[in-house]
Amino acid sequence: MDPRDRFWRVTAPLGALAVLLTILVVGWSVEPARYQLGYAPEQPIPFSHRVHAGVNRIPCEYCHTNADRSRDATVPPLQTCMNCHQFMKLPDKALQEYIDKAVADRVKSDEPIAWKRVYHMPSYVFFDHRAHVNARVQCQSCHGPVETLDVQTRLMNMRMGRCLACHRDPTPYLPPGSPIKKGPTDCYACHR
């Protein structure tokens, strides 16, 4: 075979295939963990959003008080739990004992809880909760039906495409009659 012919028929296609395969294999296998859906780590306290937000219909912002005034919605201080738990006693005795130990004692001894982070943003993303909450985007639009979950689970696609899809056409996620027709799509809207 003519050496030039050999290059075009064998070497070049095989080489291109190898490059393509490498990209695909590497890309698929090293997907950052923050993209994994269904990630539900075991938390230090088996707190159930289903019981609190679902069964007892406590509004999200009762606990996540800063969602409308800070970038961070913030996990509530343990003291917030005691707003209710210091007065109410649960019929399930074992559970009540557990809460006394896991929550009430911790508040008394000022011992914080290290919750496992479920939704992880890379350091170059500056997401702002208050912009979304004050535009009246439902928490569930991004976080999924949290009120049905016993274990907090990552239900949101954390890719930028998901952000942009909504920013380009936010209407389905906004209350009817909202004047907002589009979100910012500048890079500096989130990256800085």
Partner: protein
Amino acid sequence: MSDRDATDPGPQGISRRRFLSLMAASAAAAATSACGSPDQDTIVPYTKKPADVVPGVANYYASTYQEGRVPYGVLVKAREGRPIHIDGNDEHPIFAGKTSPRAQAEIMGLYDPQRLREPRLGGSPAAWEKAQARVADALKAAARGRRPVLLLTSAVISPSRRDAIAALRRALPGLEHVAWEPALSATERAAADSLYGTAAAPRYRVERAKVLALFEADLLGSMDSAVPAVAGFARGRTPSRPGEPMSRLYAFESRLSLTGSKADVRVPVRPSAAAPLAFATARILRERHGFALPGGLSARDLEPFRPAAVAERWGADPAVLSALARDLARAGRDGLAVAGPSLPEEAHAAAALLNAMIGAEGRTLETDRAVEPGPLASPTEMARLTRELAAGKYAAAVFWETNPSYAVSDADGFNAALDKTPLKVCLGLREDETSRRCDVVLPISHWLESWGDYEAATDLLGLQQPLIRPLYGTKQGEEIVLGWAKELGASVETDPRASLMARWRREVYPAGTLASFEAYWTAAVHDGVLRRDVPARAPRRLRGGAVASAAKKAASARPGSLELLVEPDYKMWDGRYAGNGWLQELPDPVTKVCWGNFLAVSAADARSLGLSDGDVVSVRVGRRGVELPVLVQPGQAPGAVFAALGYGREGDVAAGCGASVYPLVADDGSAPFHRTEIAVSKTGARRPLVRSQTEFDLHGRDVVRVWAPGEYARKAKTPEYAEELATLNDDPRWGDHKWGMAIDLSACVGCAGCQVACQSENNIPVVGPEQVARGRIMHWIRSDVYYVGAPENPRVAHGVMLCQQCDDAPCEPVCPVAASVHSEEGLNEQVYNRCIGVRYCEANCPYSARRFNFFDYTSAIDDPAELAFNPEVSVRPRGVAEKCTFCVQRIRNGEQIAKDHGRPVRDGEIRPACAAACPAEAIVFGDLKDPNSRVSKLARSDRGYKVLHELGTRPAVTYMAELTNPAEEAKI
């Protein structure tokens, strides 16, 4: 790459750019995934949330920072309880929301890894009780044996500190308290004392001054009154149309100072010339303009100062003296003469005479609320103290926030004498030359961790409140000293807050106030400053006799051989900031030298001595000498050389940076900072200077415009760059805003406050002297200096350069991965997570506004320095181009707050860090879409121009030409 997201419509087909960006993304992912586990991160909320702390939202607290005799009123920004940024306190009547670059950089001082963390006893860590017991035992023994104990401190302008020392003295009668500030001139105080009978420092009301006659006085730079002076000066320099009056600045100086660089008339003369020239001006004022001399001084005393002869003798133009006298006569009370602190007493007398003749006292010079400072030791008194230490006079010596082992003229002698004292105690913030020689080292809290109060004026008390609990096991100095008093049997409250409150209740809280003390106190803590009703002091009167004897001394002066002028460094001050990387890397505002000091030599002297930049010379006065690299400085007066204090320190950051000039400070009774008959000789060694700017010639381009009034009138009628150049790009369509900036070069003095503010706000790394020498400094905003005209006495043009946020940005089309893109609000965005570091953008930027992170500067920043990071800004990794963003984090926050309140963004509500810090208010930021915003009006100003507009970049930054007011113009 997997892309499971179906909602992203994305571009159809893969473009080359997209392909490359995917490649880059996968490489980045490969690099990060190795260490990425989903369980890596936790959220730890408070168990009991403190009131007013919302994670993610900044809190601001007013406080006070003392440097020398100045208590800066500051406003400190804290996030989640940690201080991250310092600005001026807007409630403060003197500082009005501005502060010095050194005070801003104190954030780094708080998180300095070199801070002392626990007490040390004989060099090894010890418990507080043990260390304190050692001191208490020694003090008790001294009290019993009636032996003297030395307490050496920095200037005491804090009533709480004064009280603590007084309490200790009552318990320990042998206590000898000596306060000293190595960078503050003793001649200035001595002169004020002999001329007026009071050493109180006047407040310069530069905003009222129409004519400024400055003799070696760096009023806008290294003098400690610079911050309000810059603000006041800027106000007189920014006419809005041709023909409006402007102030005029005359500078007679040997070194090219920051102030001299803004002078309308600058006369390079030796420091010795200041007094004769000022006296000659006084003579013209009397003879030609009929101003009376103050009592005690007769016309005969001024007889020796024949203007023509004096001017000729000292190498000045006699016409300048006539013009100055004419302008001072015209300005009358609105004139101001200042003699530089370093000058000998004669010069202070001459300046005081000018002020007295024109009646400036009470108008441009105010002393009616000036605080009478306690005595401060001069270098001569420090030499006496050294002898007493050597004689073994003291049973113990305590050094409180002062570093004599470094900052006395004869440091070796002092350190040897120190060994004769049985117990040396150091109360210090960080390890330094003195603490290393002390038996007991007690770590004190940083001012951002402390309570205190400070006298800014007799009617003005500044409050200091802690922003954070002490990071380490430190105590406040007052608490330690009061603890000793308690040990010695005094009944005192040692808790700093409790004792401060108790004293305020007793002494400050006015009887009969309607508000409760608690409400009064809370309001004062909130404001950070308290105004009190205090009767004004009687105006000081100039003693003519003192002026007459000074005139006699000045009359006999003749130009001799080389003279040396020493001044505190603009950045290091007396050396206390030597461990601060931000300040070490901040270029000197005039010479642009970083990481070291130098000997400034005029071109004429360099020729005759055979010197060039970087040659190491030995500078000797009498027995003492230092070795410094030479800088041949345009504008330096022949016959005079200049060196700055504050370098040659020990420590991780400071080691190897410059040399200490303290050995050249006179301690024999003559003017400490002005030496005559010095000897400069070449050593043959070379130490190249590290400079952030190496080209000082504009090469005929008008990137920095300096206009005389006539030029202004002419150009205002026919603006050169009014019309937009044609462009092939789409007409940009802006969203809700189009952000822009206006920088008034007439107001800007080049003080570099913007640079430190930007560094603090935007997490800008320090790269070190080797990298600066390679041009890899990372500052996003810089002030450039250009010399125009003859190098013997050039006009200095200060430019401020930052990303111009061009509408047609040259950096954008060359980026292969679209990391540099334009936003609909007119910002030129740099997306760090996309950037792959090809640096095409940097090469294509005509403004050199882009920076590249060559090494992993930021990840080398470790605990605790990383606590200084602003959490709203990315900490950029290696291999990424970066640049000014117009503080987009502040823009986003401002827009969000406005949106949350359901109102549009108010003009002036959003201020980038540089604009907020600028004491001259030279930087104005706002929305160019709003025709009524301040920035829009300034962008249309007849002084406005765009730098390199001819390239068609269409910058969003409008510069306003600097105006000068030369003496030929009659109007002031």
